[in-house]
């Protein structure tokens, strides 16, 4: 009787992935593809690069800091995206629930996630890259030295008879 009570508990502990979505790092997905293949997973990451509209859906690139992966989603479930990650902006952070495919039959064997639900959990923001005064100072010093070296070079060259 006691063992019967423990069976569900043992099953929950031993089963590496349940069919219930659970937030996971993309690096883990990539390293343990066979285990997660075909299962429902949940990821959280930044929209990076481009949103590519295609026939029947949209491709998103999700970068969670550990890895980047393509997410295929129907147009109607994509929330409003304010910022896409790049040099000048930190992209919106999305939480995505979907099916992980080690080799997607719909997309020529690509490793991807087919989104079921997408929530925007954090809006992105513009990134600024101000130059520190120290760096500007060194750049100017080096530029002055370049001018000086160039002048010395032309002076030396003028001394050599043609």
């Amino acid at each position: 009787m006691a063992i019967c009570l423990f069976i569900p508990v043992i099953w929950m502990c031993c089963c590496p992935v349940s069919t219930v979505a659970k937030e996971i790092k993309l690096k883990q997905l990539v390293e343990r593809m066979k285990i997660f293949d075909g299962n429902q997973i949940e990821i959280k990451g930044e929209v990076a690069g481009d949103i590519m509209k295609r026939k029947g859906g949209i491709w998103l690139s999700i970068d969670d800091g550990s890895e980047t992966m393509g997410v295929w989603c129907p147009k109607d479930i994509l929330p409003k995206i304010s910022f896409i990650g790049g040099y000048k902006s930190r992209g919106d952070i999305l939480r995505i629930r979907g099916i992980f495919n080690m080799a997607c039959p719909l997309h020529g064997g690509e490793t991807d996630i087919h989104a079921i639900e997408i929530f925007r959990v954090q809006e992105g923001y513009p990134l600024h890259h101000p130059a520190s005064p120290e760096r500007i100072k060194w750049a100017l010093i080096l530029l002055a030295l370049t001018v000086f070296t160039a002048a010395a070079y032309w002076w030396k060259k003028s001394l050599i008879p043609k």
Binding site: M33, W59, G109, T111, I136, L145, T149, Y153
Partner: protein, 500 residues
């Protein structure tokens, strides 16, 4: 063995200085790109790198002079020194970008670019400025043709009659009698393909759903990465980012073209289009592609990872040709090689990477010509064994023209192939000694030394510095095909042990 004299150092310094100035001028292109997109911090990084190049380059021009004629030894030493110095200086703007864990990591990426390897240690690639992306891909494009070829192309004063410099860079075929004209032809071929390739890629990427501006930039960078068989891409997912079979096909055509001998391109364009059917390199390349493809596709069939035969072909053939041409563009994740593809496919990829592309091209590895010649020599030896002793054989092979296969030529080829095998073994051994699994160490070691750039995940910013240094050396030695490095070591030996 004589100790080098002041005139030797002066000559090496003079020519290396010119190359450094050339690298400085190249930095103006990414600086201009950054200006266009308002990336002012990146502009500052490139102007700092530009200033350093000019201070060092012009400084060398002031304090040194070409006091000696460039002989073979000096030519080779100048080539290897120039590549090393160009890497150290080229890494400055990359390092200043703040996207590298250390200066060594930046040097690793720059050497990877110049040598058209494609292994990367850059962090946060998805947030890289357009200027830095332009720099990374430009390094790869220029490195593919050769840093010295650039100097020769612009006929920098004093570079005439410097065939040994050209050979020192791993290219040994004159397309035209004059080496400067040869360098210019190499650039004309590369730029013509660049125009065509970028045009088609721009439309393909636009169709994939990106804006016109980004389509153009990405197409330019993808072309540079593919043509130079470097495999750099602007996004961390590599070719997977685009989710497009059309882009995969175009890049595949570009890197196959890039991996072919420039002498073959020139002959097919100008002299004899049928050369492509008779050339030993093409025959060798076709045979090895077919054999290694069979390995890969058989392995994939047995592993059953892909749902259809078509998807198996799409993934398998692309990775295989990318490996064989030593490009390194990927449409799968690195962990897939060992974890999912199975040992047979893995072996096919390893063999393809080790063989590599054509001689006098942008590719690395043993080279198809050498494999073809070794096979022809083997056939000749077997014929000799089974023929009467009095028989006389003259073995010929066709590469651009009919050539006689001499023992001296075979010995030279064997020396280079054995050097590659030694380098592959050494790169593997170091990684195993540092605690990495054998299969991963073999994959990454061969990938670095053959200038391929495919990765199974071993190469990362967190890997030990020793492995980074070994891979930098492996990429350098593999790209210059050893002779220039042997000459450099000989030169250093002369400094230490030479007689006055």
């Amino acid at each position: 063995m004589f100790k080098p004299i002041r005139a030797d150092y002066s000559t090496i310094g003079f020519y290396s200085g010119k190359i450094v100035i050339g690298i400085g001028l190249l930095m103006l292109i990414p600086a201009f790109t950054s200006c266009l997109f308002g990336e002012w911090l990146a502009v500052l990084d490139f102007m700092t790198g530009f200033s350093l190049c000019f201070i060092i380059g012009l400084g060398l021009q002031i304090f040194t002079s070409p006091q000696k004629e460039i002989n073979w030894m000096l030519g080779m030493v100048i080539a290897s020194v120039s590549w090393f110095v160009s890497t150290c200086i080229g890494a400055v703007p990359s390092w200043l970008s703040g996207q590298y864990g250390s200066y060594l990591d930046a040097c690793f990426d720059v050497m990877s670019g110049y040598t058209t390897t494609g292994l990367i240690l850059i962090q946060n690639l998805n947030h890289t400025s357009n200027g830095l992306n332009m720099w990374r891909h430009l390094l790869s494009y220029v490195g593919g043709q050769g840093i010295i070829v650039v100097a020769l192309t612009f006929s920098m004063k004093g570079f005439a009659n410097t065939y040994s410099l050209y050979v020192g860079e791993g290219k040994d075929e004159r397309l035209l009698p004059n080496v400067i004209h040869t360098a210019r032809i190499i650039w004309i071929i590369s730029l013509a393909y660049m125009g065509i390739g970028t045009f088609f890629l721009t439309f393909a990427i636009r169709l994939a759903g990106m804006s016109w501006t980004r389509s153009f930039l990405h197409s330019l960078w993808l072309f540079m990465g593919a043509w130079s068989t470097g495999g750099f891409t602007p996004m961390s997912q590599n070719l997977m980012y685009y989710h497009s079979s059309v882009i995969e096909i175009i890049t595949l055509v570009i890197f196959v073209a890039g991996s072919l001998n420039f002498a073959l391109h020139f002959t097919v364009w100008h002299i004899n289009p049928k050369e492509i059917l008779d050339n030993l390199e093409i025959v060798s390349f076709t045979c090895t592609v077919l054999i290694t493809s069979a390995f890969v596709l058989l392995g994939l069939e047995r592993s059953g990872i892909y749902p259809t035969v078509l998807s198996s072909w799409r993934r398998g053939f692309y990775q295989l040709v990318s490996a064989h041409t030593t490009t390194g563009n990927m449409t799968i994740y690195g962990t897939t090689w060992i974890g999912n593809w199975g040992f047979i496919s893995y072996s096919g990829i390893i063999i393809a990477m080790a063989i590599g592309g054509s001689a006098c091209s942008t590719a690395g590895g043993f080279k198809n010509l050498r494999i073809g010649v070794i096979f022809a020599a083997l056939v000749e030896d077997i014929r000799r064994l089974i023929s009467p002793e009095s028989s006389v054989f003259v073995q010929r092979f066709h590469h651009i023209k009919d050539q006689v296969l001499t023992d001296k030529y075979i010995r030279m080829i064997m020396l280079i192939v054995l050097s590659y095998i030694g380098l592959y073994a050494a790169s593997t051994f170091i990684a195993v000694a540092e605690g990495y699994p054998f299969l991963e160490a073999v994959f990454e070691g061969i990938s670095a030394a053959s200038n391929t750039g495919l990765t199974c995940g071993l190469t990362s910013p967190s890997m030990p510095s020793l492995i980074k240094i070994v891979y930098i050396f492996a990429m350098w030695a593999g790209r210059l095909e050893f002779m220039a490095l042997f000459a450099l070591f000989g030169f250093i030996g002369c400094i230490i042990w030479g007689r006055k």
